[in-house]
Symmetry: D2
Subunit: 407 residues, 4 copies
């Protein structure tokens, strides 16, 4: 066993840490000002493009891309990079062209895209000149059960005709978003996991209506393109816009999830580290009833719990990344479920304690804590609620007992 | 012992329930539309005034006012009224002229105000023609420790001169807010709890600057007048604007808290009932993996936990109200601390589970759950973080052991 | 609403408090010595009988007996008495002839017994000259589901023939235990809740074998008659030994549970008060790292949590008792489920914190905490695991939504 | 990073797994019978010696001994071995001569013992022909604070004179226990961490009185030599019986803790795996309300939580072992504190859920769960309560903020 990072990773982390300190953290108030100056816009404020240029110059670009998709790093190597970007999730992932949902869409196109799809959509995504969205969740059904998907994708001559309602399509409110990958049913009569297909739909396709942005708690996430409700009413795309084959939608969606959840979870741990650092800084500064908060038992308890929790969860995520690297996404299914269950709620708890240490300021726009908390909370629901994953994990654990009953 | 409500209370509850069903719930989408139509305003949208007229006609007006302040109801009688208004906290408390912080300010003026103060400020508050704010918390200090208050109130001839920074002054962003009650130190050299005084400061006093609205997890709470940061720079008010005597600020603040926390906690339980009702309604409607959520063990567990928790906390709050009615605010000190600790976090948990049942919709503007959650969360900090109250409660519990050590 | 106890109750409590202080607490080391002197015995040590005489002289006898069974007190009046006996659960309930399972059996015979059954079994139970056991749980099935009961009670001429295995029959190891009330199926083909009957079986009936005592964690509970595994192999009793009618077993069992759970829960709260008192006494005495434990934040947090929890749960139990008094056992079904769910686990938590404050001594025989903890833990399973009750409670909560779906 | 075990470890694990299946699990009922046949004895029942012979023949002997003490395995290699023995903690650690407190004492003698001490005491310990105890905790003081130690070790000519009271000396009730390592103060006036020394005291030294065995939740742990209260009244040992130098007691105690806690925590994870396996086996077998427990949501939730928790904690312990291997005990201080805090409570939770799945049987002698639970619970106190370790960990986390306050 070996718990240390290799040299390449350590060097990249040092470069990124310097970039965070010199460019990202100082850009946070700039982002706030740019957002305030343009309150109705859903596009990325100008600071993002400036940071992208700087990051690219430093070689901090598309680092998430796995080996088999032409990338330079393994999942284990990229994981701590993702963590560090999570300290400033509104800026760093976008600056490095490593923000969801583009990362997942890039992986998907790199793996399943036709040469033409790759040329037209993947290349500009990798160059950071366009953005994309992923249309999976639907307002009327429990989307964690893929067989519930109600959107229909019907063949009509040389075209696919898409009809349905999607929502929480992150990034889709932005005019910079060029296309959506849409999950729908091409054959509702097929086997449970062969009914679904994915098609690529340009955002300006007739029949596509962007209805509104959904908020998360009170956050609209405008700088990130919001979370859109989108209506597809007989929207038509050419036949070659299907991705990876008809009936492959479910399988592709599963494959997309592994590394994506590693990224999400590592960024979450970065958010937890940020929150813990803020908590500690506040605790040593703030005096209440004659003693710094840092000397008070409950605050110390929070700090210890946070530290212990972050350490064990980071190892759990890194091990999941290692399993993906060694044996592929499918082999890592349970490991990935485990991190999806364990990380967001723990991070939520840590941020909550940082908020509590700040008092009302912790909930306000004066610290990043409120936004970080909302992110963590929403991840307990994204890709299906934790409860669905726990039930699935339990059934796998029980499998070997059902036959034998040994203890 | 008697756990039933008296007849007067039951009748009022029936009247209010009908009002909620006929007027309040149908007004919720109207409120949303009016807010959306006027996104920069901090004033109460027109629907509020319409509801106030209706409520007043039904005798649902100023019900919170305790007996000794000329009101019709005891705290035990008003408590379930407050709970019911908590089902729709953006509308119902305001509609009944029972919204914080006006309620606390009214009580304070009714109890400690001079005849002139009562005529000029209390009467229009009771009539609902103006609103008010309470300026206690400060950005630079841990305000849960009253000795930390940094605002200075200095005597200069016939005037008080106020200098300091306040924030999270709920309601103060609204132009309908006519005055603030401001806590500051008149004598930093006096005994620990005699240093503070309260003065009444009209909102348009020169030297008063409303800097900005603070948000709570993304919510600006505009319909309620927001949460203001206010700067007092040598703001001057006449000498008779002090409330209840110089050096009485701490004592008055304590007295203000008892019934106010009863109201907060009962409204929170109403919010919990609303969330639980939404959870159950969703659970019977939504099918996942072939079964309604209502048939799934985890969801049932949440429902049972929510029901058991609400029942026990309601009794705890009602008992605290009863102690106030029987023996006064001071005697109820521990009871009131207990509900402050126990209620908001439990309600937060219940709303969280309702959100989880709804999926991402639960966090969005499509349900009231996100806003209810943010309210509950902020109450774990309002009037001092829970941890301060727990430490105080523990010290009282320990008192009798310090002398004797019996077991 | 009225949250105070009436005068009769307050007087009884004062008498009992004096009895606890003068006789019960001083008898605890005597009990330990008597048990150690006779380690193989399952009978009540002599101190119990001495305390019974004293309690009877003070009028502290059979107080649990409800009005309708000829008792002097309502459930609301008895509840705080039960709580106080819970401070010393190995002695006080037995001393007052208020110990389970005799209390439940007495109620059952008082309500459903024939005159002959009452003369022969109820009278000596009320006099404290015999004890009894209740045989419900079976080793091979999940007994929380009454339809699982595997014991058969078959009619053969003028006799009932009982065949089956029972366990966790509390008290049955003692030679002072004169009879069992046994639940079994008389008609497995009847309606789900009409299959079961209860018969009274003298302990010395041929075919009855007391196999062994079960322990709870490492406690055998010898002074209380242990927890027996009992085999019934064609044990025969006269036909008139059925209780309350053939097919009535399930209904009687349900009726038996209401007041019994009130008693259990109130005694548990007494145990929690004892644990909290021990915790506080230790905390002021013990110095670690230069400060008494009582000054340390975590310990204060435990104390505050314990106090707040006890207060709210006591109100919940008292309200359940009040519902039984006002409307009967059936009406209190949900209230009784709620306390069964909420009380033992909370008390377990409080005792755990007292143990933590004592260090290893808290787990040893040098404090009552270990035994109190084991009692609390076992109540999360007694009468069915909490999870069964939570599911049932949730289904009732959901009932009104299944039809209408209102929110 | 590399998360797989090396080949040597995998082979040893295979050998041990076979030994567990063929010898250890079948010996559990034998142990119970032997204990029941000799209820007053504190010595290891005969089955232990038989298993030791078998283990030794298989090369499963003293595997815990670290490289630097002449052992064959690193801490990372031994850790999974320790875990596997934890599935049957009453038998497997003793069978492999890897049971606490002997392991800690062996390490200590291997590292700090004089040649004579090693010859006389270490060799028979390594051979398994004697056992030993460690006398640290005292009844009158909070021993987690080493400066509280009240036992005095005074020089008198060529002898050390020991006077004090110790308790919870595990193993010391057994006649097979040949000596104790006793912590006491040789110089109460020295620096805080230089006051203490350790001396080796043969069990039969005049002045040593074994007073009684302490129980843990009713368990006396007789097969393991119990937990003794021991009085030292001017007990004298030769001057050369000091270990590692006068004033070194605290430093040695700290050094002893690192690997010992790795062992404890890994065995605890083994206990958790055993409990989870028992839970799953029961869940698929047991039917309640028409469905196996395994199909019920709450039970699935427990299983998923248990699995996720075990995985992350195992990684945390293995990483701590790796840090010890790479950088020594001192460097691993925080890592070892983290596992001490995180593991026992989590294991306790998992065992609790297994108990809940079994019903009352889970608390009885019919499953190992009650004993496993008591073990886990006692580890939240052993070597100081969790709260002490959390406060220490927090202070280290805060250190860098106290100077700089960066966030």
């Amino acid at each position: 066993m070996e718990f240390g990072h290799d040299e390449q990773t350590r060097e990249l982390l040092a470069t990124l840490q310097a970039f965070m300190d010199e460019h990202i953290y100082p850009a946070e108030p700039i982002l706030a000002d740019e957002l305030a100056a343009n309150p109705e816009s859903w596009d990325a404020p100008p600071i993002i493009a400036r940071l992208q240029t700087q990051a690219r110059d430093l070689g901090l670009w598309n680092l998430f891309l796995p080996h088999e998709a032409g990338g330079a790093l393994t999942n284990v190597q990229y994981a701590p990079i993702a963590e560090l970007t999570g300290h400033s999730p509104s800026l760093a992932p976008a600056a490095l062209n490593c923000a969801a949902p583009d990362t997942g869409n890039i992986e998907l196109l790199a793996r399943y895209g036709t040469p033409e799809q790759r040329r037209r959509w993947l290349e500009p995504l990798l160059a950071g000149t366009i953005r994309s969205a992923f249309c999976m969740t639907e307002p009327q059904v429990a989307s964690s059960d893929a067989t519930n998907v109600a959107t229909r994708i019907t063949r009509d001559g040389d075209e696919w005709v898409i009809t349905g309602e999607k929502w929480f399509a992150t990034g889709a409110m932005s005019s910079q978003c060029a296309f959506f990958i849409v999950m729908g049913k091409t054959d509702p009569a097929a086997d449970r996991h062969r009914q679904q297909s994915m098609v690529l739909v340009p955002r300006d396709t007739p029949g596509v209506t962007i209805r509104r942005g959904l908020s998360v708690l009170g956050f609209a996430d405008r700088s990130h393109g919001g979370h859109a409700e989108i209506s597809f009413q007989a929207a038509r795309v050419p036949a070659d816009h299907v991705i990876g084959g008809v009936g492959e939608g479910f399988a592709i969606a599963q494959a997309r999830l592994g590394p994506g959840r590693i990224h999400h979870c590592m960024r979450q741990l970065g958010a937890a580290e940020r929150a813990l650092a803020l908590l500690c800084a506040r605790a040593v500064d703030r005096v209440s009833f004659g003693r710094p908060l840092a000397d008070q038992g409950m605050v110390q308890d929070w700090i210890a719990e946070a530290r212990v929790t972050i350490e064990q969860l980071r190892l759990l995520v890194l091990r999941a990344a290692w399993v993906i690297d060694q044996h592929g996404n499918r082999a890592a299914h349970r490991d990935v479920q485990a991190i999806k269950i364990a990380v967001p709620r723990a991070v939520e708890w840590i941020i909550d304690k940082a908020i509590q240490t700040y008092g009302a300021a912790g909930l306000s726009q004066d610290t990043p804590l409120g936004m970080l908390w909302a992110n963590a909370r929403s991840l307990r629901l994204a890709d299906g609620p934790d409860e669905v994953h726990k039930a699935s994990l339990a059934r796998q654990e029980l499998r070997r007992y059902r036959a034998s009953g040994r203890s």
